[in-house]
């Protein structure tokens, strides 16, 4: 009954259209009143949820990515990808996928990826003879890579939701192979479609120009080197490397690329405030909600429920996949990570699944949710950039959904993909 009151009031408030962060807060209050918990306890959890040093990495990663995305990084990455794969048949669709792989290495945001790569590449692809819906579908599905390829602020949120027991460095490294696998799978699909539909070939970029493009892009790609190098070598903590990445991104944008105006900076900060604070306050309210869930022993009850269904971990993982995919189509990524991790992690741990591996399963599932109707923020942004109806883009994405599902199955059932690299590095 306790669980019903807490979860039921949350679902009801959410269906009513209340902002999810505040719906979590209010249902935590209702739950606390129901079990006669002093409301001060809810308040302390809310304050403690945000009063954490480890949280700092989230605004920093988002800000560094935003500076890079708006500061002319996108077209440099596109040009860089063009040098590498632009010359084959269907070259521009491969360039699109590869640019997203690179973009993922400087920002963990699929929305930012779609907005900036899409703005450059969708018109360009259309000009070269690709249908606009196909160009948008490639952009939108390629952007899911950004969630897996480090640095990913969603991995930081997962680490936090897991109670800080899963290392951020391990999660970052775990994302590398699944991210690359996703890129390769999507690229292979693009090649097949390009061959079938006879999409145009690109041209080989002359060596001198290619070198110039590579050097320009490398300035930005250094962000990833700073972040991963710093964390893996133990020179910086995750927070420190993220903050240094902000300073680096700023310096490269303002002093090396110089196509961002100083006068535009307040607008960038304004936008960052709006995108980051909504996640931060969500973390705060989710902390008090999570506290109530623990008091009511909801994770334990859910674990018992799942283990009563089957003791085969492959079956349980499939059930969890279906659930995550369905919820992902309705809700955004950050709230789902924050709400579901404390509930599902004990279930999969009881089944012997590594928490780092489960993090990757969650990222792929929820990342797919971002591009799936009815509610998919990345799909919405992609359609808006292309000025196409959401339904049109979603239809063009059908083969890409199939490809991503194949990747999801591989990430779910081949733990090696997620765990090999972190283990190799002793994380």
């Amino acid at each position: 009954m306790d669980a019903f009151v807490l979860l039921g009031s949350f679902v009801l408030l959410m269906v009513l259209g209340m902002p999810i962060a505040y719906a979590l807060g209010l249902s935590a209050l209702i739950g606390a009143l129901w079990i006669d918990l002093p409301l001060d306890a809810v308040m302390i959890q809310l304050a403690a949820g945000v009063n954490k040093f480890s949280l700092l990495a989230i605004p920093f990663f988002v800000l560094a990515g935003a500076i890079m995305a708006e500061g002319g990084m996108a077209h440099r990455l596109v040009a860089f990808a063009g040098v590498m794969v632009g010359f084959v048949r269907g070259g521009l669709s491969l360039v699109n996928i590869l640019a997203s792989t690179f973009f993922g290495a400087i920002s963990g945001s699929s929305v930012a990826d779609t907005a900036s790569v899409g703005t450059v590449l969708i018109p360009e692809m259309e000009k070269q003879g690709y249908p606009r819906a196909f160009a948008t579908a490639v952009t939108v599905s390629g952007s899911v890579q950004a969630i897996l390829i480090p640095p990913s602020h969603n991995a930081v949120i997962y680490s936090l939701a897991a109670g800080g027991t899963v290392s951020i460095a391990a999660l970052f490294m775990a994302g590398v192979l699944p991210g690359l696998l996703m890129g390769l799978t999507l690229a292979a699909l693009c090649l097949v479609i390009a061959k079938k539909k006879n999409y145009p070939k690109g041209q080989v970029v002359p060596l001198r120009q290619a070198l110039k493009i590579c050097v320009e892009a490398l300035w930005g790609m250094m962000t990833m080197v700073i972040i991963l190098g710093g964390i893996l070598s133990g020179v910086f903590t995750a927070n420190e490397s993220a903050s240094i990445a902000v300073v680096w991104a700023f310096c490269v944008t303002m002093f090396v690329y110089r196509d961002y105006k100083w006068g535009d900076l307040p607008r960038l900060v304004h936008r960052t405030v709006k995108t980051v604070t909504i996640v931060m306050i969500l973390i705060g309210f989710a902390a008090s909600f999570g506290y109530l869930m623990t008091l009511m022993q909801i994770p334990l009850k859910v674990t018992t429920f799942f283990t009563s269904l089957s003791d085969n971990r492959y079956v349980i993982l499939m059930l969890i996949n279906v659930m995550l995919l369905l919820l992902g189509t309705l809700m955004d990524m950050a709230p789902l990570i924050l709400i579901l991790t404390p509930i599902l992690l004990p279930v999969v741990k009881a089944m012997g699944v590594d928490p780092v591996h489960f993090g990757m399963i969650m990222m792929v599932n929820l990342g797919m949710g971002l591009i799936t109707p009815p509610v998919g923020s990345v799909l919405f942004v992609g359609s808006a950039v292309a000025k196409l109806k959401i339904g049109v883009v979603a239809r063009a994405m059908t083969p890409f959904f199939v490809a991503l599902f194949v990747v999801l199955m591989m990430v779910t059932y081949v733990p090696w993909l997620s765990l090999w690299l972190p283990r190799l590095l002793g994380l």
Binding site: F53, P59, V247, T277
Partner: protein
């Protein structure tokens, strides 16, 4: 609609964005400074961490108030969008009234948390009371409450010009978008 209250809220909105923006600006400088003192000066300061947390609390709670006015918070509107217009409007009033409840709770209990912890000090910075770190919680919620009242009386303000200063193209002024 553009009443005195709306204009006052415009000011508060921009002030919140500025406070949050300044906070994230200094946060991004303080932490690298800590690294600099550790590796280059070899001294290693104690203050960057608690100050960065203080700034992050201000950034979060005051910035989230502004995000509320801008309609930026994540919400599921799929079901309410299906409702007939009048029911949709009543649902909206209910949701924002409930928002007011949450804000009142945080203002009240947040203030008492601040007062209770004013006597405790942070280990790294003995002159900084813990209560100061928490001050942004009730302040931010009080701001949100003011924006909630505005929403309840005048409807959504998410399309006001002040809220859209960050958009690349100027949005034409909208009459109190009810």
């Amino acid at each position: 609609m553009d009443t005195f209250y709306n204009r006052l809220m415009d000011r508060l909105y921009l002030a919140s964005i500025w406070i949050a923006g300044t906070a994230i600006f200094f946060m991004s400088l303080i932490i690298p400074w800590g690294v600099f003192t550790r590796y280059v000066l070899g001294t290693g300061s104690q203050w960057p961490e608690p100050i960065a947390i203080l700034l992050m609390m201000s950034f979060t709670f005051i910035g989230a108030a502004a995000s509320y006015r801008a309609g930026a918070h994540i919400a599921v509107t799929m079901f309410t969008d299906l409702l007939p217009r009048w029911l949709h409007r009543s649902g909206e009033v209910l949701v924002h009234a409930l928002m007011a409840v949450v804000c009142l709770f945080v203002v009240w209990y947040g203030s008492s948390l601040c007062i209770e912890t004013m006597g405790q000090s942070i280990a790294e910075l003995p002159w900084l009371p813990v209560g100061v770190t928490y001050a942004a919680i009730p302040i931010g919620s009080a701001l949100t409450l003011l924006f909630v009242i505005e929403h309840l009386v005048y409807g959504s303000q998410a399309k006001r010009p002040a809220v859209h200063l960050d958009e690349p193209e100027p949005v034409p002024a909208v009459e109190g978008a009810r």
